[in-house]
Symmetry: C2
Subunit: 897 residues, 2 copies
């Protein structure tokens, strides 16, 4: 005997999503809870697959089962499908296991034909209602069931006919057309249908039903649905269920209506009913936006009994599903029907509050609360944002200037300033400054440090501006190509508007919008968000991964601590070299002709570096601090080659400043000597240290002297010195030997210091030979930014602009591997390195410090492969705390309540 293909709502339950789809299972569940669900039945997802794999033929016996279920519904309702005297009308909807845009949606009022229309009019005494329902049904049925076959049956063609009729009768709104008009419209629709298809609009309700069911089945395989499944990695063999449900009508007068409500306020999380209600209307009227719905509370006044009933149902549904529910309902002549329910979408703030409240109310346990909040949502809670009302006003006033790339989220307003020096000057005076450049470079960092936000006209999501801004937690709109920046003349123009220096602008790094004038921001205070703090505390109890932060400055370190960081996983030292007063000394060091000259310049840098490190150690109060020795190629500290070349050429042409020319030529020659074809793969990282050990020797001395100073002042220090870009164990061995000697000198001078040496794993060869390297390293930190670059062979600077974003857009790559760790490739190397590293050195400490350390999906991977910690930008620390807990719950299963 064939498997049961058709299930009455009362025969199923919420656990049967695989077979009945999400919608069907919830309808069944509600029916069994005794809620007023219009009766109906569900055809299983398996039947859909059967249909499709059977060459799109209806399985034998299916329609017999449908008819049997239909008889049950008819008996229940006391109506019959196609009965002119007392006709049953039904809706037909698809409903897969996962909600899937692109599949067939809904056909309402199925069962209407010329004969049953009369019955409806008689029963309701409302001809306008009857004709209105019929014209809607013809349009919807044609559009949804037949327009794949007959594109001329698309909805908009019917709407053109209606528009013509409205013009003819002088009506503005649909509602201005009376019963007579609608009757005429029905005639026109049927005529159009016949002209298009060569046949009459189907009058047999069973034929209508069969066609609708087949259309749902077929919609599983249409292109949009297929693409959607490919993209979301949903299997193609699930199939969709078909739900056939008795129609109820909210447009039967002022004792009728329809609405949607959430069991709590999904904007704030407050425990109040939240939703909208429209009197005397069907759901599609709400969507059409012709009439404005009222707040659900209004229903209380209009129909307190129904309201109370609904509130009670809402409460019980929330309790039953242990979550905030999104409920569609209809009131037909004072009688409440629940049409659908599903878990309600909510804002970040609401998600946190609701999760915590539900625990406190005893509805869910902590693990469930932790798993209910999307970690990336937390990030939004930490950033300043514009008051939405201010934003709307600015737009209405035409002050939205342009839209660029949302390179680093958050909102900022301030004076437009066009160079870093001026920005620094004003910033230090306490002025709010937005640094505007065509693009930024390391020379601009001192200005970025004090700016409230960054705006550039060039560069992508990984341009210097974007990366530094994200690191600093600064809003950044990058690559805003509509604006033309004239840095020398100090203004920018955009679509005819000119913004001069000191003019106020506002940028929204979350959306990429740039506004003229100053918009007020709302600055969140994480400490005051009790629910967030509570949720993060629960997360902390449940995670195995530690969460550290990437921080280059004491200010970052303090913020990281405030956000709950347990250490610093990456302190980059080269930023310190870039600061204005130091850069000339750094250049002197680079241009020195011998080791002596280099040492002399380094000796002058040492106090600066020591000072930098002291500030960080003081902020971290004994928590571990991983300091990476100098990494970038030296030419990054020298003037730009092309600028120099142009200057030299100009001076040569002019021929009147021989001394200046000689000096520039000398610098150009020095820059050319450092120049590389592919600097990313050149003389940098530990290679630099091996060729010029004096630099890293100075750094290690500065680090350990700072540690000794801070320790002497009573604050504990735990320092981990990280040697970057190791590819062969010998690089690490030699470097560490050299540095240990320097470290031991400082220890001899200043007493014991808690320090260790480790390396970044950021070169494929390092991962592949991690067993050898682990014997010489006390810790590994996976530098997954560079590891992604080398594993894919992508220069991030070039790839994102030239092909990578297009790759993602065209699905050549499933996602941008610089944002979400590529588990198949880069992740495979991480796994190899973890396995080999731990085998060779069981006590080795393993972390990640690439940008992936703040990405929830990547954090789950880090948990799975067994890292000790993830390190991310300070603003992502709370995100990572939550994601780490979720990963642990996902891999170990929820704890017993």
């Amino acid at each position: 005997m064939a498997e049961k293909r058709v299930w009455l709502f009362r025969e199923g339950d919420a656990s049967m999503k695989d077979l009945l789809g999400g919608k069907g299972a919830n309808l069944a569940e509600m029916t069994n809870l005794g809620l007023p669900v219009p009766p109906g039945f569900t055809i299983t997802t398996k039947t859909c697959i059967e249909y499709l794999s059977n060459g799109e033929k209806m399985p034998a016996g299916l329609m017999d089962e449908v008819v049997e279920a239909l008889r049950d519904v008819e008996q229940n309702m006391g109506k019959k499908l196609g009965d002119p005297a007392n006709p049953l009308l039904v809706s037909v909807r698809s409903g897969a296991k996962f909600s899937m845009p692109g599949m067939m949606d809904t056909v309402l009022n199925l069962g209407l034909n010329d004969a049953t229309l009369d019955g409806i009019i008689k029963l309701t005494g409302n001809p306008r209602f009857g004709y209105d329902a019929y014209r809607r049904f013809i349009m919807m049925f044609s559009d949804i069931v037949l327009s794949e076959e007959y594109p001329a049956l698309k909805k908009n063609n019917f709407e053109h006919i209606f528009d013509a009729l409205k013009a003819e009768v002088g009506a503005k709104q649909d509602t201005d057309v009376d019963a007579e008009g609608l009757k005429k419209l029905v005639g026109q629709f049927k005529e159009y249908f016949k002209k298009t298809t060569g046949r009459d609009f189907p009058q047999d309700p069973m034929e209508q039903l069969t066609m609708a069911i087949e259309a749902v089945f077929k919609s599983w395989n249409n292109k949009r649905a297929n693409d959607y499944r490919n993209f979301h990695k949903i299997p193609h063999d699930l199939g969709t269920a078909v739900n056939v449900q008795t129609m109820v009508f909210g447009n039967m007068g002022d004792d009728s209506g329809t609405g949607v409500a959430f069991t709590r306020d999904v904007a704030t999380g407050e425990k109040v009913l939240y939703g909208e209600f429209l009197m005397n209307a069907q759901g599609e009227d709400v969507v059409a936006g012709v009439r404005t719905p009222v707040h659900i509370d209004e229903m209380k006044k209009v129909n307190p009994a129904v309201y109370d009933q609904f509130a009670e149902i809402a409460k019980s549904l929330e309790k039953h599903y242990t979550d905030v529910m999104d409920i569609e309902f209809t009131v037909e002549k004072g009688r409440l029907f629940i049409l659908q329910c599903r878990v309600g979408k909510r804002t970040a703030a609401a998600a946190v509050k609701i999760a915590v409240d539900l625990v406190n109310e005893g509805l869910i346990d902590k693990d469930t609360a932790i798993s209910r909040v999307e970690p990336n949502q937390i990030y939004q809670l930490l950033l300043p944002r514009f008051d939405p009302k201010e934003k709307d006003r600015a737009k209405s006033e035409g002050r939205l200037l342009a839209k660029g790339l949302n390179a680093s989220p958050g909102a900022a307003a301030g004076q437009a300033i066009f160079d870093a020096d001026k920005a620094e000057e004003l910033g230090k005076e306490g002025k709010a400054v937005i640094l505007v450049r065509s693009e930024t470079c390391p020379d601009d960092v001192h200005g970025m440090l004090v700016a409230k936000g960054i705006l550039t006209s060039r560069g992508g999501a990984t341009s210097h501006a974007a990366v530094v801004a994200r690191g600093l937690g600064l809003p950044c709109v990058a690559g805003c190509e509509a604006i033309r920046v004239d840095e020398e003349a100090r203004f920018f123009t955009v679509n005819g508007t000119t913004i001069k220096e000191f003019d106020d602008i506002s940028i929204d790094g979350t959306t990429g919008e740039v506004f003229a004038g100053k918009l007020a921001t709302i600055d969140p205070n994480i400490a005051e968000n009790k629910e967030l703090q509570q949720l993060l505390e629960w997360a902390d109890e449940r995670r195995r991964l530690e969460v550290w932060a990437n921080a280059d400055y004491p200010r970052d370190a303090e913020r990281a601590i405030g956000f709950g960081a347990q250490g610093i996983g990456l302190c980059r030292t080269e930023h310190m070299f870039m600061e204005q007063e130091r850069l000339p000394i750094v250049q002197e060091m680079i241009l020195a002709e011998n080791s002596e000259g280099r040492k002399a310049a380094l000796a002058r840098l040492l106090p600066y570096q020591r000072g930098d490190f002291k500030g960080i150690f003081e902020a971290m109060k004994g928590l571990p601090v991983v300091i990476r020795l100098i990494d970038p190629p030296l030419h990054e500290f020298l003037p730009a080659h092309d600028d120099l070349l142009v200057e030299v050429t100009k001076l040569e042409c002019a021929g009147n400043k021989p001394e200046e020319l000689a000096a520039k030529r000398k610098m150009l020659a020095a820059v050319e000597a450092q120049r590389e074809m592919n600097p990313m793969l050149g003389l940098r990282g530990c290679r630099l240290g091996l060729m010029m050990p004096e630099i890293i020797g100075m750094q290690v001395r500065a680090i350990l002297e700072a540690a000794a100073d801070v320790k002497a002042a009573g604050t504990p220090v735990k320092v981990k010195i990280m040697i970057p870009l190791v590819g062969h164990v010998n690089e690490l061995t030699r470097t560490r030997e050299y540095l240990e000697a320097e470290a031991q000198k400082v220890v001899a001078e200043r007493g014991p210091i808690d320090y260790s040496f480790g390396t970044m794993i950021e070169i494929p060869r390092a991962a592949l030979t991690a067993d050898e390297i682990a014997k010489v390293a006390q810790f590994f930190s996976f530098g997954t930014n560079d590891l992604t670059q080398t594993t894919f062979g992508y220069s991030r600077d070039d790839a994102e602009g030239k092909f990578l974003l297009k790759y993602v857009e065209e699905k050549i790559l499933p996602e941008n591997p610089f944002q979400t760790l590529d588990q198949a490739g880069v992740g495979q190397l991480v796994e190899i390195a973890v396995r080999k590293g731990r085998e060779a050195n069981p006590s080795i400490e393993l972390g990640i410090c690439g940008e992936h350390g703040g990405d929830p999906e990547s954090i789950a991977f880090c948990h799975k492969v067994g890292l000790n910690y993830v390190s991310c930008s300070p603003f992502r620390v709370p995100v990572a705390r939550l994601a780490a807990a979720q990963a642990n719950i996902a891999y170990t299963g929820p704890k017993d309540k």
Copy 2:
């Protein structure tokens, strides 16, 4: 009971190299063969380790065993160590399993003291001989045994004393000093010794012997020996043996002498005794070069009996060892003694001839012959070289101008030409041309193609010039910094000499030498080298790996076939784009503003490409040809950015040529649009094809049309189209889909063509996900040049000059990974890819086309991991044939004879 520590020569044999060292084992073997070896004994290598691990204390009982062995020798010789009447003198030498420079060498005449000296004088009746032996012994013993402890005892200090004495007595040569003078010298030496050490020169022969033995033991651990072992990966725990052997004297008159001879001519391989003999001399006199030795044949005249005896011994040793031997011998008063024998080093030509001759003589089997020749030696046999006599003459005439980097081996002479156009013009006229540039770039390729050799003043072993030259098999001296090239004025200067255009020069790419004038070259003819052909035929029978060649031009393809290539593993198509007449069309294509413009330019390129491919298919006559679609970034086809920038700046300054300025600015903008920070990791390879499919579409059409044309003319064609730089399977899937459509169009037009699609594995991610990729590829070719770049994170252009060569020099890396495949890292990826690729697609064909395909060690690796073929430059094909056979023999063991 302790293990036997001291072995008399007659107790050991040649198989005991581990225990007795190489020298000791051979002395034992020869003794047991009945050869006239002066008797002696060997202290085992294990004893050395025992001594060293015992805190440098002589193992208890060792000297008892030594004394026992000594008694045996004394009895044999009828002399006694230290017996004033009839003293035994011995030599003491180190002798490890592997020959190791840096360890203690030899102490001769041990046993001499004031008393035995008298005995010697009496016995020989030759006071001068006695004093000469004694002064030599004091100096040698002091230098070798004690100078580590007392640096003042180094040999040169004794020589100063001797020099002073010679001046005093008016002697020019050592031999001018008579017995009386030498007696005085002995006194001075002993005095100096006492002054330096505070004690008398040791008079007790047993003390001398004990000290010498300890010195040998200790020399195992001195720094030079340790470094040597580290470099050559020789284990440190082997230890050295000590050989104590009765002294014989070649300086006892005209019936005495000493010599070294090989059993065959090691320069040519001819089967004649080959060596030198010096009458009335010790070995050290030969080394000192005071007197010139005579050819071994002279001995025949002087002492035919001894000569015949020696010739007989040589023959028997060769037969016994089945190889050409290097024999040291001494004749003492007409009696022949064999002091040492080892396998003789030989030239490439001799190695091949000897190996083949020995097979023909029945001494060795073919497998042994194959294994006896170092594959890299073969390479030398294929290249033209200068006549050594001409070279010597040129040097004596001061015509050696400079020495640069030996970037591509071989010798060439011709007119110095300073630009590629002129070189092409003259070359096509049949003139011999040396292209001289400060450095070369792709624009110069048309000139390089016809040049006989390349000379550059800048750039390293992997500069454009070097790489292209090696690919073409052209001699190249690169980075010859002593010369100053003025390309515009068309001359170069070097140390005051000026070489103008059309002047003749000669370059030796094997040595890096540059000469003024034309040196005659000797051009080898591989076909005429019967022994080489024979050896390679044997190799072909014994290899499993196929050997293919990298060839971009029909000329290369023909040469490859001549050298025995079985296919083309890499035909690069971009070189075709660089040729002079095509470059403007290529630039037009790149600068086209839309797909239409691009297609129009491509349509004009198509006939050129088709012509290129036809030539190659015709040459290959049905052998497989792997053609790689365009790989480099497009900016390589555009003018150099910096040149343009300077031109634009100059034009701006001058301000008088607005039209030219506008045109240059436009080109500069175009170049800037294509410019990348790290072009190696940018828009190239399949990424380019995915962004601009028109280019590769044209290429595939050109390839298949050419194939159809050649096939129509009756020559079979087998074409394999290779898609470069794939990192994600989707890149390959999309590209292949697009290209298959184009291919099917050509097939529809022209009939069936034997073609397939595959990819290069040159990105770590491709290797890691080879299982996915193998499902879409019909073949893999490991592009180990790029794979090495990405696996190490090295840009070859930058790394070799900036740090890589230093890394190798300082042993941070064991070898240059671009020359010898890094098995631990890059090799691991290759193994992963082979395993995963074959699992997913068992029929996949696997090859390698990086430069490693011609490196013997890397070829062995390719054999081991199971590739189907290696592909290398045509000139390395014979090298690879031999190396592949050796690998198979090494991994499968020799075949039964």
